[in-house]
């Protein structure tokens, strides 16, 4: 795992999708134990992210410490809570960029698929690098919750629309349903 200890403001955004082929062959255990038509595959495992600070916002130390503490918990619900708070744009901008990056980086490799999914949404609300590429990769994940959150995080740009159209062919009805809902919303 590579963590950028001190992201600088204006730091060129960097992402290493180290090897899609290698990641694709990296089969992980299905923690739900549910039968799934596609092999367990954590699409986010090999990702490296880089988030930069909002130049106009001073970070809130107390909030940053609280989120870091929750994100370090053994309880997945606590980790989910930390990421939910990061997903709030108003609070996220006041969380230390270094903390944001550490929390998100760890969450993308979390054994709990709901935590990984929430990390995606939080990532999409941050000033982080190459979010569209990450979301595109997440659409290949074996976990429904991850693919659903990837669809939910897509935006109205050309690439986002293209990926939403791609998601209309997902094997799960819920993903197709959400993609259709988003496309309809974006067209209004």
């Amino acid at each position: 795992m590579r963590i950028f200890k001190k992201p600088e403001m204006g730091l060129p955004i960097l992402i290493m999708i180290s090897s899609f082929a290698a990641a694709a062959s990296n089969v992980v255990a299905d923690e739900t134990g549910n039968a799934n038509s596609r092999p367990a595959f954590n699409s986010l495992e090999s990702l490296q992210i880089s988030c930069s600070a909002n130049e106009n916002q001073e970070s809130n130390r107390e909030l940053s410490a609280r989120i870091l503490n929750l994100a370090s918990s053994n309880n997945p619900l606590d980790r989910l809570g930390a990421l939910s708070q990061l997903a709030g744009k108003s609070s996220a901008t006041s969380v230390d960029a270094n903390v944001t990056q550490r929390v998100l980086q760890a969450a993308l490799r979390d054994p709990d698929s709901n935590v990984r999914a929430q990390a995606l949404y939080a990532l999409s609300q941050q000033n982080c690098a190459d979010v569209p590429l990450i979301l595109e990769q997440a659409l290949q994940d074996s976990e429904l919750s991850v693919r659903l959150m990837a669809v939910d995080s897509l935006t109205a740009d050309e690439n986002g629309t293209s990926l939403l159209e791609q998601a209309l062919n997902d094997e799960e009805q819920a993903v197709r349903e959400l993609a259709a809902f988003k496309l309809e919303s974006l067209s209004k």
């Binding site: 989910l80 939910s84 949404y121 939910d152």
Partner: protein, 155 residues
């Protein structure tokens, strides 16, 4: 005192626990998530209110916390009986519109006495939302009394 339960579990808390001294209210927390992810998914619980020695139940109050930040928002509907709904409401709903905080939705109350109340949890869009519902049976004097929660449907 706080109890957390998994899906399909039955949580029973008996009155008479030594809570009054510390002034701590009993709380029932029922955690769950929409496993199918479908927008039409509804989780259904039944809340039984009985006199555990504390007093005869008068009403149930409930609220929900949407633990997943996304487009979808989680709501509950609490319902019991069909008449007379004019004097005391038979059904009330509550939605957690801010899913990026640790706060619950507004507390709602249905005053229909002893018996079984229906609690429906739904969400506004597709997503595997996780949620936590707090539910209490209380006497007319607002004392926490016998409460059980059982899961009937998970979607």
């Amino acid at each position: 005192m706080k109890f957390s339960g998994l899906k399909n579990s039955v949580i029973t808390v008996l009155g008479g626990l030594m809570i009054s001294q510390a002034g701590v209210a009993l709380a029932h927390n029922q955690g769950g998530s929409f496993t199918t992810g479908l927008a039409a998914g509804v989780d259904f619980y039944q809340v039984s209110c009985f006199d555990d020695g504390t007093g005869v139940p008068s009403y149930v109050e409930a609220q929900v916390k949407d633990m997943t930040a996304n487009t979808s928002k989680v709501s509950i509907v609490l319902q019991k009986g069909t008449t007379p709904c004019t004097t005391n409401k038979c059904a009330q709903s509550s939605t957690d519109t801010t899913d990026t905080d640790a706060a619950y939705s507004p507390l709602v109350r249905v005053t229909q006495g002893t018996g079984v109340y229906n609690l429906f949890v739904s969400h506004s869009a597709a997503g595997t939302d996780s949620y936590d519902v707090q539910v209490h049976c209380k006497t007319a004097s607002n004392a926490h009394t016998g409460t059980t929660v059982s899961s009937k449907q998970q979607q």
